[in-house]
Symmetry: C2
């Protein structure tokens, strides 16, 4: 069937040994200019490409990095992936993308799959459901380079890239307060995620500084990250049907933001009275109705940084001792009213 030319074919055709061909093809300090020219020309002619799989076996590495995200349909992640790819390609690495759909089982399967010597390192943003991290810790202990981005595992000693979630949440909440809102609800992601805790702290701190009491009934978590629309819908409808309903909602993530708006449009007759601000990297935000004030994360840059860090670990000669945590700033985009 599909059978590309190998170094052996060239050797046979040119009546040389495979070693000579191999050396002629790369550097080749020990090969005469003449032979080198013959080999290179012939290789070009038969469109020779070295077999990366054979190389991986020999070199015990694959020049590819694995990316674990909840889903590529999420614009934050697709932008981050663009950043990852731009760095990876420029350094000669493949990128293999794997989606967890915020499921713990899928995360375990995908991580094991990728780790098994087919990637040189892993870029991970945790699934919303994940509470047990042993699948990652085991691999990391065995020496597989791992860098976290966005949804971080604080307890693991490695590089991490995140955005300033506390500040982003704080600014968004303060913006809602500045618009006169007094009862601000918080629609949050799964409680075990790093981003959830950080964003909730920012939200609470803003309320505190403006002397607005924190009402636990106005904070709801989506433990599957809004994997099913219904999960978001239930939470938002509880807000809406509250005896003393909120006059604003601060939403902690992309998927939840749009889910929240859909629900409001569907069920709230008076939805223009409720301001919504949330994290979103969607390019369609400005076209939404009800409108959404949004906090944007520098997804592309986060991807770039994470990929650079991972590749630096992979290519480091010695075990890394000192690990970095990078935090990038978000931007607030007010909208509506």
């Amino acid at each position: 069937m599909f059978k590309p030319t190998t170094i052996k074919d060239i050797a046979k055709a040119l009546n040389l040994s495979t070693s000579t061909v191999s050396r002629a093809l790369r550097g080749g300090y020990e090969i005469s200019e003449e032979t080198k020219k013959i080999v290179l020309e012939y290789a070009e002619k038969v469109n020779f490409k070295r077999n990366p799989i054979a190389l991986s076996l020999k070199e015990r590495r694959s020049y590819s990095i694995g990316v674990i995200v909840c889903e590529v349909a999420n614009q934050f992640f697709s932008q981050a992936i663009d950043g990852i790819e731009s760095v990876a390609y420029s350094k000669g690495y493949h990128v293999i993308i794997s989606q967890t759909h915020d499921s713990y089982e899928r995360e375990v399967i995908n991580v094991e799959h990728l780790a098994n010597r087919s990637v040189d390192g892993l870029l991970v943003s945790l699934s919303a459901e994940t509470k047990d991290y042993s699948h990652l810790e085991k691999l990391h202990d065995q020496g597989l380079p791992i860098v976290f981005f966005d949804r971080i595992l604080n307890s693991m000693n490695t590089h991490k890239v995140s955005s300033n979630n506390f500040k982003g949440a704080f600014e968004a909440t303060e913006f809602l307060i500045s618009k006169g809102c007094k009862r601000i609800a918080h629609l949050a992601n799964a409680s075990q995620l790093s981003i959830t805790a950080e964003r909730q702290k920012g939200y609470e701190e803003a309320l505190r500084q403006h002397h607005i009491p924190i009402d636990k009934e106005l904070i709801k978590y989506c433990k599957h990250g809004g994997r099913d629309q219904i999960e978001v819908e239930i939470a938002v409808r509880e807000f809406l049907s509250h005896d003393n309903p909120p006059d604003a909602i601060f939403v902690a993530s992309d998927r939840l933001s749009t889910g929240c708006l859909s629900t409001m449009k569907k069920y709230a007759t008076h939805h223009h009275d409720i301001l919504v601000a949330g994290f979103s990297n969607s390019e369609l935000v400005e076209l939404l109705n009800p409108s959404l004030s949004y906090i944007r994360q520098p997804a592309f840059e986060m991807g770039e940084k994470a990929a650079e860090m991972l590749i630096s670990i992979i290519e480091s000669k010695y075990p890394i001792e000192e690990f970095e945590s990078i935090m990038l700033d978000t931007t607030l985009h007010p909208n509506g009213v």
Copy 2:
């Protein structure tokens, strides 16, 4: 660094040969139950996983399939990828995703990259810029299985999956006519794409059947598929500033649809007088303002079908002679007015 246990390590530890261990690990009809048990237990204990790279080298295949799309941020493609993955995983294949960003150069690089014996087959949706298909034809001639979906290359003799673009376009245009529109513009994708031609035919046929003259000035192509927002903006602004401007726009693809709406919101003071209908698989469509009537493609199913077809070619013992072209129906979702 990262060094997983190999079959050799097990052999040494158990004082057996590698062949025995190998056979004990899989079926092993020639190995005594006793040795088999010892090997399996030890393998389990040291968490042995066979090295897929070594296997790929030996078997001359990788159990992975490559997917070439313009970008994963596009919901149509991310949904198609979900379909592809669901089939691929269930049959034991990896999925490697590669983005062209509608650039011809990137397509060539990515295709070559994947083809080089690291994938067993390719699932391709052409880039908007691509006019020369030799990079794909060469590989196909060499025997690499290729299946097209969505953006098809008609001249290549292989399986193809598309949606009924003609019918979808026809219905959307007819819908606009039924709403009383008389001057319906068409914002199209790159002219060499299969979907562009099919959708344009549907549009023109609807006009013809309703005795509306076809005005070539009301048809504009985006030859980079709307890779840059500015490309769409220029086209739409030309529509808007026309002496006799359109009262509706039929848009041929997802990215163009949203780009069109943005531009209208930005520049058209009277944008509510212009109806817009277009292809879109975005989950946010219902929340858009200006509103959009949309044609939805069965992206997930298209991905499933394409993956099934590709895997059937890969696993077929004999060269396939008869190729299929599958066409799935779209659905129209009217909105606004």
